[in-house]
């Protein structure tokens, strides 16, 4: 490789290293960490709840055969005589005067809710205490609707828009413009710093959340999952988060060179991403979400009762293959960075107008 190019790459990496501390430790990055770790907190809370229930109920396990034998029409007294005291009971109101009760039992894996009205069993429902399949669907929903569309989107807005705009506001950008570095190399270095920070924060957040999801699950089910799609899912969730940072990072870096108010690019881009499903094929491809939605290993779950318009807004455009999506996203990123490098070449230090 040309020694000049090698030197420029070293300069870009040097800039990235100098910038990293500022990006990671900036006070204005605090909410980015909160966004990234919010799903981890939710799933940790869920895991703790499941674990506490398991611990509390483990001394009061009722054999499954006994619970299976409970039928509609059995009396409450009979149920308690056969199954013992429930692990929990809740009362509820039916109409104005009548009251009902739910007796919950636990067989070590499943939870049985027995519905009692007028001292007779009216219904019985059994479900796994912790439903792995359901939790994975919930995680997929969180990943698509919260992580990609909200956390990474706004996290990248906060990190990448401030790379140049923040320095302009702090009146420190001249420090970089007076270094013996080409402006496009400076852009590359700052982009690298933002990317390292965003990928570290959000990929770690996604992976951590995924691992926390597995924690309270049935160990046999988790083992089976690890032997099948588990590693691939983990990889693609991480990769999707990283590639989303790559794409959104480039867009917000460029936006930070053009406008001072972050609300403008956030609004424009979120609208653009939101109406992606309505756009013609070619325009759909000029979107970060179009590609990253295709990369996620589990499609976004969609309630069949969601209104049609909202369904179009939330549903991803026709998915493409993982490699086509990766290539497309890299192409979009390259074009946006090239445009940003043109802009940074013309950028001037004029703090008084900031």
């Amino acid at each position: 490789m040309n020694p000049e190019h090698v030197f420029r790459m070293r300069q870009a990496w040097m800039i990235a290293k100098l910038e990293l501390r500022r990006v990671f430790l900036a006070k204005r990055s605090l909410w980015v960490y909160l966004l990234a770790l919010f799903p981890v907190l939710i799933f940790t809370g869920h895991g703790i709840d499941v674990k506490l229930d398991q611990k509390r109920w483990s001394g009061r396990i009722t054999p499954a055969t006994v619970l299976e034998s409970i039928q509609r029409g059995d009396s409450e007294e009979d149920v308690i005589r056969r199954a013992g005291d429930p692990v929990s009971s809740r009362r509820f109101r039916i109409g104005r005067d009548r009251r009902g009760q739910i007796l919950s039992y636990y067989d070590g894996q499943r939870r049985y809710d027995v519905f009692i009205e007028d001292a007779l069993v009216t219904n019985k429902r059994a479900r796994a205490h912790v439903d792995f399949e359901e939790d994975r669907q919930i995680f997929a929903g969180f990943f698509h609707y919260f992580y990609l569309r909200l956390a990474i989107f706004f996290g990248c807005l906060g990190i990448f828009m401030n790379l140049f705009r923040g320095e302009m506001m702090d009146k420190t950008l001249h420090f970089w413009f007076l270094a013996p570095v080409r402006r496009d190399v400076l852009l590359a270095g700052k982009y690298m710093a933002g990317l390292v920070a965003a990928v570290t924060i959000f990929t770690t957040g996604a992976v951590l959340c995924f691992l926390v999801l597995l924690w309270p699950q049935d160990q046999a089910a988790v083992q089976a999952y690890w032997q099948q799609q588990g590693p691939s899912h983990l990889f693609w969730y991480g990769a999707t988060a990283a590639l989303a940072c790559l794409g959104y990072g480039s867009v917000f870096l460029a936006a930070g060179l053009l406008v001072r108010n972050p609300i403008i690019p956030a609004t424009v881009l979120s609208l653009w991403e939101g109406i992606n499903g309505f756009l013609p094929d070619l325009l759909q491809k000029m979107s970060v979400l179009y590609y990253v939605e295709s990369l996620a290993p589990v499609p976004a779950p969609m309630d069949p009762n969601v209104p049609a318009l909202l369904r179009i807004l939330l549903a991803p455009a026709a998915p493409v293959s993982a490699w086509a999506a990766t290539a497309g996203l890299l192409a979009v990123t390259a074009v946006v960075l090239w445009l940003a490098s043109r802009r940074v070449g013309r950028l001037e230090i004029n703090y008084s107008t900031e």
Binding site: L178, A179, P180, V181, V185, E348, I349
Partner: protein, 322 residues
């Protein structure tokens, strides 16, 4: 106007000049500089003018922080649009006070040296050497944000000289320095210039820089109004006719008295016969003569400079420094 003089130092001058060719810069509708043409040779050159006159704009233009709307600039044969080349031969201590968030004095000076391609050890050595030159080694480990104004001034100077540039550009470098440090800093400029290099500094007080400058460029309202060796510029301004508006009750009598004076070139009576416009070639003599006339009973009500730019610059030249 006189052309800029070649450096008087015995050392060979830095061969390449800084050339402005018909350069104009506007900030929206506000004029930065207008049609500036300059050739700045080596040595110490001072840009002098009141606040807002365009000194910083000229410096920012030659360092590529802003780009001209019209005209062209070369600095040592390089375009300011090539920072990767230009910043190897140029160091700029700006007037901007801020340093990157959390940076210590040492980091502030050493970081650009890494980008020059120096090894870590070499960068540390050069940074330390530069900090020693400005007597700031004791505070090197402290954050720049906690520095006093004078310390910030010095750390910016240290950063500008750390890579031993051929051209040193300094925006108001003596502001906020105590007398001892000021003397050391001036000695540093002289040493740089003696090695045949450019030192370009700005000031709004001519008195502050005239004793150290090889040449001076006077700027007002974005235009270069005088340039050259300090002695020539002083003479040039002294000879530049100045206009004054005088209001008085007996204008005709005062006009005839003033017109007899050698330095008064023209007197125009106001149509209301209560005032006049006087053109003089020597403001000092005019001022003395008018004071004497007023003391002898001439009814002078007010005297006002009709040409504010020249007035301001005149004041700078004679050391008033408004």
């Amino acid at each position: 106007m006189t052309g800029l003089a070649q450096k008087a130092s015995s050392a060979p001058p830095f061969a390449k000049e800084i050339v402005f060719d018909e350069v104009s810069k506007f900030y929206g509708e506000v004029l930065g500089v207008n049609r500036v043409s300059l050739r700045i040779p080596g040595g110490i050159t001072s840009l002098v003018g009141p606040n807002g006159s365009g000194k910083t704009t000229l410096m920012n233009l030659m360092t590529g922080l802003v780009h001209p709307d019209r005209g062209s600039i070369t600095v040592g044969g390089l375009s300011p649009r090539e920072p990767e080349k230009l910043m190897r031969i140029l160091g700029y201590a700006t007037q901007y006070d801020a340093a990157p968030r959390g940076a210590t004095g040492f980091e502030f000076v050493s970081a650009p040296l890494f980008l020059h391609g120096h090894s870590a050890a070499e960068a540390r050595r050069l940074a330390w050497q530069a900090l020693e030159r400005v007597s700031l080694t004791d505070a090197a480990g402290r954050k720049v944000a906690g520095y006093s104004k004078g310390m910030r001034q010095r750390v910016r100077l240290a950063q500008a000289i750390a890579h031993d540039p051929e051209i040193l550009v300094l925006d108001e470098p003596l502001n906020g320095l105590d007398p001892l440090v000021r003397a050391e800093t001036i000695a540093l400029f002289r040493e740089f210039a003696a090695r045949g290099r450019h030192v370009i500094l700005s000031s709004h007080v001519l008195q502050e820089v005239d004793v150290i400058s090889d040449q001076v460029i006077l700027i007002a309202n974005g235009m270069v109004i005088a340039e050259g060796q300090i002695r020539n510029v002083r003479d040039e301004i002294q000879e530049h006719p100045s206009q004054f508006m005088i209001r008085c009750r007996d204008a005709s009598r005062l006009a005839s008295l003033l017109f007899e004076m050698e330095h008064v070139a023209e007197v125009k009576l106001h149509p209301d016969r209560q005032g006049m416009l006087v053109l003089t070639r020597n403001r000092q003599e005019f001022s003395l003569a008018l004071t004497k006339l007023a003391a002898n009973g001439s009814p002078v009500e007010s005297v006002m400079a009709a040409d504010e730019n020249v007035d301001a610059l005149y004041e700078y030249l004679i050391g008033g420094g408004r």
